[in-house]
Symmetry: C2
Subunit: 134 residues, 2 copies
């Protein structure tokens, strides 16, 4: 029997050791890693509190399909990173904005991106070297 996703949780404490599963890192990591979440969050952050409509967001992100933008936003809303407000008008209007938690999420994200940028040249060189010797 399979299909039983072994939900692997990890956490690393300050000392670098693995603490017994405090929080399921995986589902949240997956959110970070899916194709559009970070893009959407980045775009909303750029707006500096100005709320964005669905279509605005779609243009701002660029390249995202309606389906994926919808599910991405729903997931972010479910995690309390984004607020969705629907206005009962015709035509309909729906506005999105980051919650405080959503904004605070940008901090670790920036730390990570900072590391990536700082290390990217070395990593790139390492890859070339590695690929050559294969």
């Amino acid at each position: 029997m399979k299909g039983e996703a072994v939900n692997v949780d990890i956490s690393i404490d300050a000392a670098g050791s693995i603490a017994p599963d405090l929080c399921p890192v995986r589902p949240l990591l997956d959110r970070m890693a899916d194709k559009w979440s970070l893009l959407v969050i980045a775009r909303l952050a750029e707006a500096r509190g100005r709320r964005l409509r669905f279509s605005e967001l779609m243009r701002a992100v660029g390249g995202v399909s309606q389906r994926m933008l919808t599910t991405t936003l729903r997931n972010l809303e479910r995690d309390g990173l984004v607020i969705r407000e629907v206005f009962a008008e015709v035509p309909p209007r729906v506005e999105y904005e980051l919650t405080e938690r959503g904004k605070s999420f940008l901090i670790p994200v920036r730390t990570l991106i900072g590391w990536l940028e700082a290390n990217w040249p070395d990593i790139q060189r390492n890859r070339e070297l590695y690929d050559k010797n294969e």
Copy 2:
């Protein structure tokens, strides 16, 4: 002021990269997000410099297939996060350990995990609430 356009969004484009000429965040993010990389890195970090053999790592991580452990380690090696040393013995012995870059990678990772841990209870509550009202 904070949250200037510069850090945030180090503008992430549709391709998933952050600003054309900076660094492609996506491939590295993908590495972070794949199913085993973080686990492997965590386990190697725990060892505190003691090198681990392939089979040791496999047991330590738990649940990984040989195939995936191999490709995960190869990817990490390619990015210079892990060192792989082969000993020409019978039976073969291969040892793995973190590089300095690999260790430094733990810093942003811990920041991220710290955020996840701190926010997990709230997120969980948010999800329950959201799911109930669906």
